[in-house]
Structures are given as C-alpha cells and as structure tokens.
C-alpha cells in the first residue's frame, strides 16, 4: 500500500521552479486563445490545404510526444495496478489488430466488406466493453470512487452504436481530439492548480468558436472532392454519412479540432513541463528506478523518432496512401489515451 502511494507520487513530480518560470499563466492563456483563434481561421479558410499540411507536419511528432508523456505516466512498478495495465495493454493490442485486420482483409480480397457496418459495430462494442472494464477496475482501486453508473452509460452507448455504427465511429473521430484538452486539465490540476481557473475560462471560447464556424460554414457549398486525396479527407470528416451537411463545414471543424489536439500535445503540455526534459530519460520512472530500463526506454524513444522520419518520408512519396496507413495505425494512440486518462482521474 505504501509502495503504491510512493509510485503514484513519483509519477507526478512537482514542477520545479525553473519549469514554473518557463511561462506565466497570462502568457499561457494568450497562447491558448491565439492558437485556438488562428486554428479556427485557418481551418475555415483553407480546410483541405491546412488538413494536408497539418497531418504532414504534426501527425508523427504529436504521437512521439504522446509516447513520451505516457512513458512518464507509467509507474515504475505496477503494484496493485498490474491487472489494470494488463487489461489496458491487451485491449490496445487486440483492438488495434482487429481494427487493422478489417481493411487488410478487404484489400486482400479475403472479405467482401458486405457486412462492414456489422463488423464496425462489433469493434465499437468491444471498445466500449474494454473501456467499461477499465473504468470498473479503476473504480475498485479506491473506495471513494463509485463509477457503477458508467455501466448503464456504456451499454446505452453500445445500443446507440448498433443502431448507427458508422455515425458512432464518426463521433469518435470528432471526440478524440478533445480528449487532449482533458489531459491538459488533469495535468494542470496536479501540477499547477492555480492555472485551472484561467484554463477553464479559455475553454469557454471553444464552443463559441465551434458555433461561429458552424454558423459561417453551414451554408457554404461542399468542397470539390474530385481527386483521390480530397475525397479521402472529406470522407474522413463524414461527408458521405452526412450528405445534407456542407463538407466544407465538416472538414473545417475536423481540422480545427485536430489542430487543437496537436497543439496540446506538442506545445501546451511541453510548455508547462509535463513531458519533462525531452532528451533525458531520467524523468521516466521506468528508467529512473533501481534496476530500471534506461537503455530500453532510450531505444524506444529513438525508434519513435525514426518512425516519425519514416512517416515524413512516406508522406513525401505518396501522401494519400500514407495518410490512409497513418489513420489506420493511429487508432493505437487513440486507445492508449483511455487507460492513462483514467489513471489521472
């Protein structure tokens, strides 16, 4: 028990004075508001172009920053969280494999894709049940948490998913970027609680910006998706599922949320010192502990940088194909966010 308490504290090092001096709360708020405003303007103005450029530049690096962050949040010893992490990592692996298997089987002509919505609904159900299991396990780790009410919510979401599996998947596409804002909130709560009030005030701007974008773009004509790449981008934003909605609005909204997501992982969290010194593995508990794995962690991070380079190279050679591959593989980082966010609640 005592060890578990120490692990928890070790995973949340207090921000040092040098880190605290790195940025003031006012500058933090200005950066947040300015970033959100510029992102909304760019996404509304040139949605397709900004989407292409954003994914090219930030998709890989933001995954590396997430990996770095998750390694920092991973406790040095799992202790009584062993089962939680076992279920989490097994779920991430199996769900990612199943997600990648669906298009792989289709393109290998081993599956016609005739019952694609049913397959998608099954995958979504497994995802929800996995999340439900994690929530229940996390709830049992403390007597103060009673999250039993989450079970009916999970089953209700399963029911809605089976009614409209494709719309449910589209909802994940739009909701996932917002999870980064939740991460930032939880991190501020632990390390800089005095900043949270300012942060919450800044968050009020988000629905206003989204409402403004919807109001401005709802009557715009749909984007010309006459080439393969543009078609992929509009489909990813849900143009096929929501034919009566302007694809300009859908793509702009999705790009705006993606920009926020990348901004939090690449700018906001490192700015407040959440990822520690990027070049030092000593800020990672698994590497720092006695008998830890500093070389393994360093190798993982270097390999991550190599993957980022490969991703950039792939985008340069065949952007459209690489984009498809990236968004298929990227489901792993979407899934990985769930257990780490639950550990922070």
């Amino acid at each position: 028990m005592e060890r578990a308490a120490n692990i928890s504290l070790a995973a949340w090092p207090r921000a040092r004075e040098s880190d605290r001096a790195r940025v003031s709360v006012r500058l933090f708020a200005v950066i947040l508001v300015a970033s959100a405003g510029v992102s909304a303007a760019l996404a509304s103005w040139l949605p397709l172009q900004v989407s292409i450029l954003t994914v090219f530049l930030f998709a890989g690096p933001h995954n590396w920053f997430e990996l770095r962050y998750f390694l920092m949040r991973l406790p040095a010893r799992f202790g009584r969280s062993r089962n939680f992490f076992a279920v989490a990592f097994t779920g991430i692996f199996l769900l990612t494999a199943a997600y990648l298997a669906m298009p792989a089987l289709y393109y290998a002509n081993l599956w016609s894709g005739a019952n694609w919505p049913d397959a998608m609904a099954t995958w979504n159900t497994l995802l929800l049940l996995w999340l439900g299991a994690l929530v229940m396990m996390r709830s049992r780790q403390s007597s103060r948490r009673d999250w039993f009410w989450m079970l009916p919510v999970v089953f209700l979401l399963c029911a809605l998913n089976w009614l409209q599996p494709q719309l449910f998947s589209l909802a994940i596409v739009y909701i996932h970027p917002l999870v980064a804002l939740w991460f930032l909130d939880r991190h501020l709560r632990r390390t800089r609680p005095e900043w949270r009030r300012t942060y919450h005030r800044c968050l009020i701007l988000l629905p206003l910006l989204i409402a403004g974008m919807l109001w401005q773009l709802s009557r715009t004509s749909s984007l010309a998706d006459d080439n393969g790449l543009f078609w992929r981008i509009t489909q990813h934003a849900g143009a096929d599922l929501l034919p009566s909605v302007s694809s300009h609005m859908l793509v702009s909204l999705h790009v705006f949320l993606e920009l926020l997501h990348y901004g939090v992982w690449i700018i906001a969290l490192p700015l407040i010192g959440a990822t520690g010194a990027l070049w030092s593995v000593r800020t990672i508990p698994l590497a720092r502990r006695r008998g830890g794995f500093p070389k393994l962690i360093a190798a993982v991070l270097v390999f991550g940088l190599f993957v980022v380079g490969v991703l950039w190279f792939g985008f340069s050679v065949n952007y459209a194909a690489m984009r498809d591959v990236y968004f298929a593989v990227a489901i792993a980082h979407v899934l990985a966010e769930a257990p780490f966010l639950l550990r922070m609640i």
Partner: protein, 192 residues
C-alpha cells in the same frame, strides 16, 4: 471403385451442364425499390365540371421544395429503413438497451447517497413531466389521414372540395403521377 468414379463424374457433368443451361435463363426481374418519402405537404381535390383534362397543380414554392428535397436526398435509404433492414443490429441494440436499463436500475437501487437520490428524483420528475407533456400533445393531435379522405366521394357528389394530408413519394418506373387516396371500406369480410 471404378463404378463410383464414373457415377461421380457423370454427376459432376450433369451439375456442370445444369449451370450452363441456367446461364440461358433470362435474368430475373429486379424487385422495385420501395418509395421514399421526401417531405409532407397537403393536397386539395376540387371537382371542376368545365375542365376537359385532370390536372395536378403544384405551386412554385412546393416545386422548389421538391427540388431541394431531391437534391439533399442521399442515394441510399433513410436512417429508419437502414435500421429496420438489419435485424441483427436491431436485436443487438435492443439487447444492449435492456442491459443499460437493467444496470441503471441496479445502480438506482444501490445508490444510497442523499444527494444522489435527490438528483435521481429530479431526473425522474423531468422524465415524468416530459412523458405527460407528450401524452397531452398527442391528445391534441388531429385524427388519422384517412378520416379526411372518407368524405371525398360524398364531397365530389356534392361538388365540394376535400382537403387532406399528402405524402409525396419518388418511385421508380415511368408510370407518371399516381394519387393514392386512403379509403376505409365498411364491408364485412367476404362481402362483395
């Protein structure tokens, strides 16, 4: 062994020839796709003794609405039709809905906190009010559509107009425009 081989070969040849013969059969006529309601509007039937030809007059505004509805209509079926067409998904959705309600009940039963009970009581009150409001609104809803069209023959005989609800459907084929009027007959079964 040899006899079995010959019999199997003959059977395979027979099946093969059947496949070829089937290839000459005309393609089955595809089942016509069900119509799709684009929007709801009204229709008035007016008898005109001076008219030589029957006319279906569509106002400019209605025509514009038809154009817009057709332009916005996706090529595939509607949401309700998609749900109804997949029995597996309906069954799964129903099962999870049942589980959701069951676990919500368990959660309500084991919830002992006073604050929680107040919140639940408030939620139930809101749901009850919404339900009551729904019943009240339904009570003020008009009679079913066929009620208005029942008077059509009588009104036509009297030379009077009849007004009732109308769904505009877009159907496949080239049968022009068909007006289907709901008429309830009072004849007993078997009576002609």
């Amino acid at each position: 062994m040899k006899r079995t081989f010959v019999l199997c070969t003959a059977a395979l040849l027979l099946i093969g020839s059947a496949l070829f013969a089937f290839g000459d059969i005309a393609r089955p006529k595809p089942t016509p796709a069900p119509g799709k309601v684009l929007f709801h509007t009204g229709l008035q039937i007016v008898p005109d003794s001076k008219a030589y030809e029957a006319r279906l007059q569509i106002s400019q505004e209605t025509l514009q609405r038809i154009r817009e509805a057709t332009a916005n209509s996706p090529a595939n079926t509607s949401m309700t039709q998609r749900i109804m067409q997949s029995s597996t998904r309906t069954v799964m959705a129903g099962m999870f809905m049942f589980l959701a309600i069951s676990f919500a009940g368990v959660w309500l039963a084991r919830s002992t906190q006073r604050r929680g009970q107040k919140a639940i009581a408030g939620a139930l009150l809101v749901v009850g009010m919404l339900g009551a409001a729904t019943v009240i609104v339904r009570a003020n809803a008009g009679p079913p559509g066929y009620y208005y069209w029942q008077k059509l023959p009588e009104n036509l005989t009297k030379g009077q107009g009849t007004r009732g609800g109308l769904d505009i459907e877009i159907v496949s084929g080239d049968d022009g425009i068909k007006l289907i009027v709901p008429m309830k007959t009072n004849k007993a079964p078997g009576e002609e």
